[in-house]
């Protein structure tokens, strides 16, 4: 073997080593995130007994009477304060909760996984730090793989899966970096990242790095990276949507006086259904144009490579299905009677179509895009 190939081989091994380390650290991060939920349980229960309410929910549901009272109190205070000076402060006083539910009596956001328990909070922070460390190892693995194979590291399903999982973690850490309080996303996000990477290293791994000549194009960078980034953010939106459905059920149960079910302490610590719904919408609306761009870039590439921009190849067909399904989701959000649950289900169907396009189409269906390497 000549020196160049040796160097490539050892780079590929380095990439694999970084990947196994990343998986190990992700696993630790996952356990820490689970521990945060477990330790936080006591806090949630304590608050219930403290408030002495019948249902676990009542503490998070502002009772209408109480809310009304609070409103009048703050109103009076403001009026009293200002009667001398003739100035009215129309803004809510600073002591008011940062964000009120839009209707009095509507559920408010839960306290998060740690449930105000300091120990749980500490474990939660450790989970985030471990996630960040795992992300760096994961990033190293992907970059080094790119150097080893001398092209963008997303030429087969192993590489696609690892890049997609990287973006999924990236989207989660990105939200945290933007100071969004989304630590509660850790458990489900790390779970799917671990499953994806586990499948990637065990089932999908390919050592040889053959790339069909049609992929020798700068469009590989543009089109595929846009698709992968979209995938990472769609994934986060889908996780939030699942949590929305769970929390919404819980809220409905509480509102009708039933118990919140066995996992009530989990649902109760999540943000309100309304907040979750808004978050998943924002994430989807944020990436939908990028996904649109990915599809258009794919069409431009197909025109440059095969002489037609759209040929209903299975991969193109599923990109179309995904796109139309997400458009339907955005529509549903603006259609009376389809907001909430139904829109959420459409959003999940759209994400399922996205995932099927990468796993189902590559494995079960043959087409021009068969670069699967499985």
């Amino acid at each position: 073997m000549n020196p160049i190939s040796l160097a490539n081989q050892s780079l590929a091994e380095l990439s694999n080593w970084a990947m196994y380390s990343a998986i190990a650290v992700y696993l630790l991060a996952f356990l820490a995130a689970c521990a945060e939920w477990t330790f936080g349980t006591r806090g949630a229960i304590a608050r219930v007994s403290e408030k002495d309410s019948k249902t676990a929910a009542a503490i998070r549901l502002e009772e209408p009477a109480e809310a009304a009272e609070r409103h009048s109190r703050t109103g009076n205070a403001a009026a009293r304060e200002t009667s001398g000076g003739g100035t009215t402060v129309l803004t809510p006083p600073a002591s008011a909760p940062p964000k009120r539910p839009e209707k009095p009596g509507a559920p408010t956001d839960g306290p998060g996984a740690a449930g105000d328990i300091p120990k749980a909070d500490l474990v939660g922070r450790i989970a985030v730090s471990l996630t960040a460390l795992a992300f760096l190892l994961h990033l190293t693995s992907v970059v080094v793989r790119g150097l080893a194979v001398g092209r963008p590291p997303w030429g087969n399903m192993y590489e696609f899966s690892t890049a997609f999982a990287l973006m999924a973690t990236g989207a989660y850490l990105g939200l945290l970096a933007a100071r969004k309080p989304v630590r509660w996303l850790g458990v489900p996000v790390l779970f799917s990242v671990l499953v994806t990477l586990g499948l990637a290293v065990s089932v999908l791994y390919v050592n040889d790095a053959q790339l069909v000549p049609a992929l020798h194009s700068y469009w590989l960078w543009i089109h595929v990276s846009a698709a992968i980034i979209s995938g990472g953010i769609f994934h986060t939106a889908a996780v939030v949507t699942v949590l929305f459905l769970a929390r919404e059920r819980w809220e409905a149960a509480i509102a009708s006086g039933r118990s919140g079910g066995r996992l009530a302490t989990v649902w109760q610590r999540l943000p309100s259904a309304q907040t979750l719904d808004k978050l998943s919408y924002r994430l989807t609306a944020l990436v939908f144009p990028l996904w649109t761009f990915a599809v258009i870039a794919g069409a431009v590439w197909a025109e440059a490579a095969w002489g037609r921009y759209w040929g209903w190849d299975p991969k193109e067909t599923w990109a179309f299905i995904t796109w139309v399904a997400y458009a339907a989701y955005l529509h549903a959000r603006a259609t009376a009677g389809w907001k909430g649950r139904r829109a959420a289900v459409i959003g999940l169907v759209a994400f399922a179509a996205f995932v099927f396009n990468y796993y189902g189409v590559n494995i079960f269906i043959t087409g021009l895009h068969s670069y699967a390497g499985v």
Binding site: M1, I4, S5, N8, Q9, T82, G85, G86, T87, T88, V89, T91, A94, P98, K99, D109, A148, V149, G150, K180, N207, D208, A209, Q210, P213, A214, H216, P271, T275, K278, L279, A285, L286, F288, P289, T292, I296, A299, A304, A305, G307, R308, Y309, W310, W312, P314, T317, W318, F320, I321, V324, A325, A327, A328, H331, A332, T335, A336, G337, A353
Partner: protein, 536 residues
Amino acid sequence: MTAGGPRLGVVGWLRWLWRSLTSMRTALVLLLLLALAAVPGSLVPQAGRQPTEAAAFRVRHAWLSPILDKLGFFDVFSSPWFAAVYLLLFISLGGCIVPRCVQYARAMRTRAPLVPRNLSRLPHHESWHSAAGPEEGMSAAASVLRRRHFRVSFEPGTNGPIAAEKGYLREAGNLVFHAALFGLLVALAVGSLFSTTGQKLVLEGDGFTNTVTQYDDFNPGTLASGDDLEPFGFRLLGFSATYQRSGPQRGTANSYVARLRFTKGTDAPARNVRVEVNHPLNVGGTKVFLLGHGYAPVVTVRDGKGKVAWSGPVPFLPQDSNLRSVGVIKAPDAVDAQGKPDQLGFSGLFLPTVRLTRKGWLSSFPAPDKPTMVLTAYHGDLGLGSGVPQNVYQLDSKNMTQFKDSDGSPFARALRPGDRMKLPGGAGSLSFDGIKQWASFQIAYNPSNSTALGSALAMGLGLMASLFVRRRRVWLRAVPMPGGGSRIEAAGLDRTGSERMAEELATIAAELRDKIPTTELNAKDSTFRKPHQEQW
């Protein structure tokens, strides 16, 4: 007349139908149907795109296929029901966006909407005392808002109220996005009516002129005749491929290059051009793509009388990435040792770098390092005269007899270039004289490319405006105070529900208070709340 509710009448029904069709709910259901309708198109091989797979599928699912055929599942994307879904969707879209465009144009011309009576009821509001009189305060406010690109409606010289609005681009973007969908539809329609595509396999040294008869396979659009193809031609001077020789990527192609001697029109001077994967040759909108490549062993077949029955290169078709290729050689004019017509046929493999394993003859590298041809031979009737068009890459051995070796096993030989094999019984011989390469080209003309690209870009831009621009309104009012000065009330409403409105309103108010002094007595109130961090 029947008793009961009011009768709708024909016009009433039509109106009801139209209103239902153009409702958001119908649009949503049609969108979901469109996604659903595309699914079978990916699961069942489409006859137009993958004819061989579709045929194989029909054989495999013999009982199901007639039903699928009736449903149009082998040709989903031109089936009537698929067309029905998207045409209904586009009618709905037209009925939806035309009125919205009219509304939008009207909104751009009319004044901003009425001012709510009680500004403090709005989710974001501010109020403070100003030393200036109401008119002065309001005209200052109007100029602050104008500088921030709000559309302001305000009667100068009054106490207000001011109504201002910003973010009209949101609705405009949404309309552009939806209108651009029509552009895409038009592009797809024009493409399927007027585009032409065709494939041609060209041997090194051979030529091609762009006329229908020259193609191996030609697919014109519904209204394209193929009579007015772009006039050009080329000769394939040579094809070269380079491959990674070592490392984990051994065998991967580094480049494919076809060198052409190209002539445009009939009398333009010829020039040399290169065509590579992803780098087609563009001739006035018609593009020549490099589609594939392979080897063509050059052979000479002599018959039983020693006469040359066939001579020349024969393209073999690659089966894998190391270019293990299959092919057939036909010599219809051959005669046997007695001089009686007895056609000869050969079928077998070409292996650029041969490797014999237990699984059979393989190729271990795509370059011709150890080229070998493995052939078996037949004699009899090639079936060329039957009138049924025949695939040149297949041997119809129905009426042929395979030659046998002396031990009775089927006759087969492995040949290196320069080798010659003699057929048993003096039936003739075949010599392997050399190797040529061939390249196949896709020649495509689609007049809708620029329409499609333009629509797609408009769609993307419209979408971004529609999703990222916030449409918001700001209102201000000044109330004269008995002791002089005025109280200024401001409120904002973000129709997209974004929390950034609080911040924006605070900035506007702060700017205004910089311009017109606040009274001392409310200095303490003028410290503004910091906008809350958005909570998720």
